[in-house]
Amino acid sequence: MSNDAIVFIVDDDEAVRQSTAWLVESIGLKVTTFTSADEFLENYNNEPGCIVMDVRMPGMSGLEAQEEMKNRGMSLPLIFITGHGDVPMAVRALKRGAFDFIEKPFNDQLLLDAVQRGLKTNSEAMESLVQNESIDKRISSLTPREHEVMMRVTEGKPNKVIAHELNVSIKTVEVHRARMMEKMEASSVAQLVKTTIQASRNNILS
């Protein structure tokens, strides 16, 4: 979990907003508060973290804000709090990908757990995003020939077969293979396979 993660608290009721901030700060987390969903969306700057938001607010409601965030491609975990115990609304929010739905007055541990899990999910997502970026970079540094060799190595083909398929000498395959392994920062075939699996999971491999 990165240290600069921020818990964004969005609630129009000042007392509820400030008290929630006070609770979240008590376990040493950074908090920023907003009085409305509009205000949050205007000021959000791609910081890592998670959101704690009231469902019913004047102006943009919590569910509308969730929709808007989806449209903007924001993936911050969103924890809704509500004073209404409105089951259909909770189902709708969770179906649309809300991280959690907590009823007021909330059990402090329940909220803090949800916040912690939210932050963890977010930082993992961030991490894998960073990793994916680096894999992406490595793969794009390969020449077409090296790329072809890599695909065949991960399929478990020996150099001789690769040389035959690509219609080159075994020596040439060995040179390409050594350079490819270096560029992919893989010390063994097993590690190379692991990296390519991660890449294919994130659709980096074309």
Partner: protein, 606 residues
Amino acid sequence: MAVEESRSEKKTDSQTFFQTKKLDVTIGILSRTPRQSIKSTSWQYSFERLNSQSRYNFIPIFLSAKELNNAVASDELDFVICDAIYYLMLEKQYGLLRLLTRSEQHSETFITSEGLSVYTWDKNSDIIRLKDLKDKNIGIVDINSSISWLFLEKFLSNHGLISKININITPINEIEQSLILLQSGTFDAIISKSGLLDKHIAAEKMENLRLINPRRGWQAPFLHSSVLIPEWPLSKAWYIDNKLASKVVSLLLNRHNTASNEPNEENSYFLPQYSWDIAQNYNAINELFSLSEHIEINTSSRAEGSSKKMQYWISFIAICFLVGILIMYLRSSRDLNNRLTTSKESLEQEIKERQHAQEQALTHQAELAHVARLSTMGEMASGLAHELNQPLSAIHTYVQGCIRRINMGNTDLDAIVNALQLTAQQADRAGGIIRRLRSFVRKGESHKTYSEINQIISEVTGFLETQLKNKQVNLILDLEEDLPPVLADIIQIEQVLINLLKNGIESMSGIEKPSIIVSTRRSNHKYIELCVIDSGHGISEDKLKRIFNPFFTTKNSGMGMGLSISSSIIEAHDGKLYAENNTEQGARFCLTLPISEEHLGSNNNE
């Protein structure tokens, strides 16, 4: 109201007078046979219900058609129960207003329509259609004055029959007897209220009894020979106020529970007991009869002759009627002389009674307002729960934050003290909500104090914050500053305002960008005007006229008492409540309240 004093109470001292004196309310009941007591009639249960409260003493008075007419003409009856056609006459002449319609139980259902059934024996082959009854002997089964005689006359005359001229009719008080007389040939046919004989005929298996001109309508499960008209209405005299009328309606509408199903041991009812339903539409009868009369004239030449006889008959009745009125007039002028001579004491007594009645009316209004407030609270319960939930959540969360900090050895005392102060503020906020709630549902007499109208508005909008928020209603306050205070019962004015705002919010469902404007201004030097203006669907013209009537509602739930009570509250403050549509969209409800005299300006005192 006919407040009649009984001689015996003159002697009682003033203390018991105020405790035990009930206001007499007279109810005239149309009846062919004179009666003294309500006991063992079908009305018994209705009057037990009416007299189940302690404020009024409802007195039944059985009167013939003529007596009833005279009594209504001289305002001696507060309420009238008579058949539908007679009611229409009285409505036209004396402005009676129907409140309820009698309903009778037939097997499992309650029927609010009545009809007439004509029976004959199968062997009477010369009686096929109704007009074949001409010059015959007919028995009228009139148990417990159940026949509507005017209806019977109309029915007969529609078929060219007029009693004592071309048809002989004889009332019979027993079902058995009428059937025996029919069987023996004394009667050629019998006429009864539809459905009355059904049970008897089924039990005796009288298959050779034939119903003439059988019809079936959706309103009733039984066959009938005539058209169906609404059952007897209970109507109020023109001078009876809505409050007493509402009371009567609410006492009588609580029916079906005990009426005829569960006779209790002490006074089991021998007769089926009447119960009451919402008033039916009586105006349809006019069309019904003029229409069928029309057809009769076109198809039958005999009807013309008989209608001339009818005219003669009507003028005869009219003369009788005038003579009746003259006698009544003479009698009442004699009464007046008597009354003048006994004057002073009874006058004082009467003034006392009036004062008492007024006091009671005030208490009654306060009680009704209280009940309405409770019901408003009920409707608003979920919103209030949410409002209370906010400070409670905040308190809980602040305290948990403090505990965590202390457990972790975080000793930033200033921060913790600050958080605890904020917690205390939230506890105050919760307490404030409870206080407001409690004072709103407070029971009791009207307390008028000098109040700032704008202050009341901000209280009320605080109350409705949750509702406004949930429905995304934009509330705009357009309040004139430095308004002089009004002398008002704050709780009651709050009640009216909540009612108007709630109506406004509900009228805007499905409207885009709903908004409500609450405005105050000094309308002239004597009044302050407050308006609640919504952007909803508005109110149609015909509803606008009835909107302040009790029991009028356009909502699926609700009693229809809100605006009626609001209006009576504002009237009790010497103000006015009125409604109109905006020129563009939505409706506005405005009320005026008089500025308290001390604040009208200098030189206006005394």
